[in-house]
């Protein structure tokens, strides 16, 4: 079972903005190759943060309005939401190790 929740235009408010923990959102698209490599990283790292940080993903092809709301021009783009606002923004592929370093301060 995937640790990563697929979020839509409709569920974004509840799943991300109103979540009780920080949420790391992966903005991706099926045709984007670095997105695939990043997906493997996220699958591995998500398990380590179960209960502390929620992992979610948004397919920008299916939800372009959501992508443009957050000004996404390059994918993959990772946004860390805390209490409904963007606390961290990472563009491009990131390794397991580097991602953990970015998430650790927010794991609380």
């Amino acid at each position: 079972m995937s640790e990563i929740t697929a979020v839509t235009q409709d569920t974004f408010e509840k799943e991300v903005l109103q979540a009780s923990t920080p949420v790391l959102v992966d903005f991706w698209a099926p045709w984007c190759v670095p997105c695939r490599a990043l997906a493997l990283v996220l699958e591995a790292v998500a398990k380590e943060y179960a209960g502390k940080i929620k992992f979610a993903k948004v397919n920008v092809d299916e939800h372009p309005a959501l992508a443009s709301k957050y000004g996404i021009v390059s994918i993959p783009s990772l946004f860390l939401f805390k209490n409904g606002t963007v606390a961290e923004n990472l563009v491009g592929y990131i390794s397991d190790r580097d991602l953990r370093a970015k998430l650790q301060p927010h794991a609380g």
């Binding site: 190759v33 695939r36 490599a37 591995a44 397991d96």
Partner: protein, 315 residues
């Protein structure tokens, strides 16, 4: 201090690109106890390629990502285990190899290195943005896509000139942009390039930016001697400033050439017994899918012979 191995395989293949996956398939079909380790994404450099038209069996060409999918499916069919791990250190020991990886220690009777390399980047704006949209690191791969266009080649070595000569067959014009006023390439290649009416040299120049809308439309050039900048219209930019082999994990004792690529014999044996290499990481590689997968086959056969002979000695 000897590290104990919780995990041991007869054969470990480092690298899960086309070369590594092919080695995996051959090893699995030979009923070898084999493990393929891939640090990023199965398919390796294929993940950055577009339409593959020179791999035999595909008269209409095949999309690189489709080919990767097929190779993975084939590997799965034969039970090849491809594990996500990065090899940090490879240590030859008396009777085996110890691999320190991001997923823990793994020991192997024999190892095939299929880690390929990375094309050196210019590091200029537009380079990443237009990857696959006019920026390329492989003329034989993408050249034919730019027939009758103006093409820029960046570099001054053998690869750059080889590529310029190849591209001149398709292009309207080829501009070779080199930061010095002399080429490093072999004289014979230089002669051919200078004699080619389609090839023009822009000396002491560098590309400072790659521009375009959806696809590449031009490059900003700066002349290092005069300081002048100008925009050169072009439909493609081939960057040929060198390749860096992925060999950081190798011990110093393994013979490599001046550029760091692994030296092998025709049986894909390296200077370390039980250690083999195949694909782009090998010195003198033609860097094609066909040569990589061919070398993978040979490396597995050699590894098999090696394992048979070392186990024969033990009994």
């Amino acid at each position: 201090m000897a590290r104990e191995c919780m995990r041991h395989h007869d054969l470990v293949i480092i690298g899960g690109g086309a070369t590594g996956m092919t080695a995996g398939v051959y090893a699995a079909r030979a009923r070898m106890d084999v493990l393929v380790l891939e640090a990023l994404l199965p398919g390796g450099q294929l993940n950055n390629a577009d339409l593959i038209e020179n791999y035999p069996g595909f008269p209409e060409g095949i999309m690189a990502t489709d080919l990767v999918e097929l190779m993975e499916k084939q590997a799965r069919r034969f039970g090849v285990k491809i594990e996500r791990a990065e090899v940090e250190v490879l240590q030859p020991r008396e009777n085996d190899f110890l691999l320190q990886t991001s997923a823990g220690d793994i020991c192997a009777g024999a190892v095939i290195v299929c880690t390929g390399g990375q094309h050196k980047h210019l590091g200029v704006p537009g380079e990443r943005e237009f990857a696959g949209k006019g920026v390329s690191y492989c003329a034989t791969c993408d050249g034919p896509l730019f027939r009758e266009r103006e093409i820029v080649v960046v570099g001054g070595g053998n690869t750059a000139i080889d590529e310029a000569l190849f591209l001149a067959r398709f292009a309207r014009r080829v501009f070779v942009v080199h930061r010095r006023d002399q080429l490093r390439a072999e004289k014979i290649l230089q002669e051919q390039a200078f004699a080619n009416p389609k090839i023009e040299f822009l000396w002491s120049s560098v590309v400072t930016e790659i521009r375009g809308k959806e696809f590449v439309e031009g490059v900003m050039l700066r002349n290092l001697k005069t300081g002048e900048s100008r925009l050169l219209a072009a439909g493609a930019v081939f960057i040929a400033i060198g390749m860096q082999p992925t060999v950081g994990f190798l011990p110093d004792g393994v013979a490599r050439d001046d550029f760091g690529f692994i030296i092998t014999d025709r049986s894909m044996r390296t200077s370390a017994p039980g250690l083999f290499a195949a694909g782009d990481v090998v010195s003198g590689s033609a860097r094609q899918l066909t040569t990589g997968v061919g070398e993978a086959t040979i490396a597995v056969l050699s590894a098999q012979q090696y394992l048979d002979s070392t186990s024969a000695k033990k009994t």
